[in-house]
Assembly symmetry: C2
Homo-oligomer: 330 residues x 2
Amino acid sequence: MANQRVLLASRPTGWVAENNFRIEEAPVPQPGEGEVLVKNLWLSLDPYMRGRMSDAKSYVKGVDLGEVMVGQTVGEVIESRHPTLKKGDKVLAQLGWQLYGVTREANKVDEKRAPLSCYLGVIGMPGMTAYFGLKEIGEPKAGETVVVSAASGAVGSVVGQIAKLKGARVIGIAGGADKCRTLTDELGFDAAIDYKAEDVKAALARLCPNGINVFFDNVGGDILEAALANLARGARIVICGAISQYNNTTPIKGPANYLSLLVNRATMTGIVVGDYVPRWGEAVRDLAGWVASGQLKRREDVVEGLETFPQTFMKLFSGENNGKLVLKVA
Amino acid sequence: MANQRVLLASRPTGWVAENNFRIEEAPVPQPGEGEVLVKNLWLSLDPYMRGRMSDAKSYVKGVDLGEVMVGQTVGEVIESRHPTLKKGDKVLAQLGWQLYGVTREANKVDEKRAPLSCYLGVIGMPGMTAYFGLKEIGEPKAGETVVVSAASGAVGSVVGQIAKLKGARVIGIAGGADKCRTLTDELGFDAAIDYKAEDVKAALARLCPNGINVFFDNVGGDILEAALANLARGARIVICGAISQYNNTTPIKGPANYLSLLVNRATMTGIVVGDYVPRWGEAVRDLAGWVASGQLKRREDVVEGLETFPQTFMKLFSGENNGKLVLKVA
């Protein structure tokens, strides 16, 4: 029994490449007093990880070269010296891109309430981001128009469905006819815009004749500008990410029409989901309830095998994944 | 007795030029039933007027070619067919760039409470913008750091002084040593940054070691980026204008580092003062009270003669004015 770990080998300039990572074998670590040894079953792949590969100042420090890439994991406790967790428990932890890890900070999850991979997606960090981003910043009201970018992704797909539950009209922006069909046919969106095939600004103008009340942005760049060009009076923009810009080698493109905020008395606000950790319970209760009742569908893109990790990660930025990207270890 | 009117002759591309205007003589208009004839004494010059010279869609329609340029005015009623206003009353109105005008919408102002030109500045539209922008969006708390751009201008100078009254630490950004001295020596700002002589980003980093809590932006462009680079957690940005960009022939420069809103959980919100007209009374009471008590100083840049209007207007964009720019007609 050996551990396998994906290390950050070099910092990317521009697009992430396979040689930014190195996979190494290592002994399985031993849990110290108060720790558990966890065998990872599911690993999460999320856009924020691109930021952790950089040493630029951000809200969390980046990964050091030669260290295991960070990330959330769901696994099984196989040895415990922890006061409350015991062997066989399934836990959500931050063990990163490896087969085994030790930690004293793991939260037991209930496989009966939801499939284990859900704890990385719809009722995990991406679900929380959607939940609090809408509840605390976007605040959609019944009858309002909500637009979300990267709508078929882990966060966007939950944003759209929660907004529907709140009675809003929901339009998703995604890349490709397949993803757009998923949005309207499986997830209940009112309309979808294929940014690879359509002029997004014109499509938004057509689909939002009274303007956008809430724009939940995961993409940035031209898509953000297209939304700014179509705001309703008093619109709220939730800035969650800017995946179109993460692999830039030139400076990020700022929204040239940001004065639309002035014209429309609108607001643009950033969200970092980590701020809401103390309120996780409230969100899990709602999200898990909606999953159980079938009101919140999860869409996962599952890839198998740790060795596929670097290539799988790159799918996030080329937009190849459809749904929450997770890696099944076994 | 003849009227003199400044008409919009052509729409500028880029910098405003004298030939965008035409001065013409015209008969003095006769007041109709319910109207007053007003002889203008003071005319206001404000950056928003640049937008009115354009036919691009904005929150208010632009001036038509051949029409009198819009603007606020303070004048004396010389003939009245109005139900409540009478000859000799001093009134605030929207009569634009001309010597005489008729209107049914004029508000009597009290010369004893404040000098007439104040109704165009510190207790007029610019003062209201500062007042409501801070009260409703910026919300500075005692001990917080407030930064304002175009700080010696009509809005900025009031923003800084109100923020001081609220107990904040206030830093102004202005162009030139003279203006900076005005801010610190006359208006009570804690510090001033001369953007023509200093690296604004570095100066903000030095002067705001704990970051900016409230940034009130009248300028846009590089100054907005410098502020975004120095936000405190939970910062509020009030987007009031972007004078650095109004004469652009290329697209406006959006803030390349707008993701600072995300990193710092910050908010950027537009204000249009016209939305607060129903609450004018509350603001006038506070502002006039502070003027009377000497807590709010007005700084005016007075130019005489209607014929100087086009050149005087251009001073706003070259930054030559120091304080609220007003034109004395007589």
